[in-house]
């Protein structure tokens, strides 16, 4: 399974802050983004950063592994 997390303004545009996606061999970050942004286009308007396993990732071609944690995040506004 892939664990998907949404935060801040992004989370308000999806039904749940957290969801699970089935993992399949050869899966890339791009596949998850494509599927979820089709399902929740409004949420993805707020996405500025994506992290895989708590590290920011810019390359959508990143191969995923079973058990990965992906986070979709709006611009940070802490501090």
């Amino acid at each position: 399974m892939i664990r998907v997390l949404f935060f801040g303004p992004v989370a308000e545009q999806v039904p749940a802050r957290e969801m699970q996606l089935p993992f399949s061999a050869g899966m890339k970050l791009q596949d998850v983004v494509a599927e979820l942004s089709a399902r929740h286009p409004q949420a993805f308007e707020f996405v500025s950063f994506t992290a895989v396993n708590q590290t920011q990732v810019r390359d959508l071609q990143l191969p995923l592994a079973d058990g990965d944690e992906i986070a979709f995040m709006a611009k940070f506004s802490g501090g």
Partner: protein, 141 residues
Amino acid sequence: MSEPVRIQEEDFSQEAEIAELKASSKRIGGIATFVGCARDFSEGRAVSEISFEAYGSMALAEMRKLRDEAIEKFALLEARIVHRVATVTAGDNIVFIAAAAEHRAAAFDACRWMIDELKQRVPIWKKEITPLGESWVTPHP
């Protein structure tokens, strides 16, 4: 001793943080600190409360990296970063940053660098609750 990098709901004590910082070395000549507080006005709108949300595990990892980088980059003797994730009202503390160095220039540079970088790199979000409703804060460039 408390951890030098923390995310917590409860308030922090500057006195306690600085005491722990100072206990780390007798070579400290200057300590620069920054405390971010909740204001009752933001862009002309009255704000009653501010609530924070964090991607906790990543935020903590980023804050630790930030501290390590600051210590290395500015040759600090010690540094601390504490961020509250809670609902706060005007005057309440939000974030505490401290940099201790042999001389003041490095302490100031490092303290400022850490808060600037924290705002860029640490996954925490701020929502302002006003009498007219709630809104997420959009950071300025």
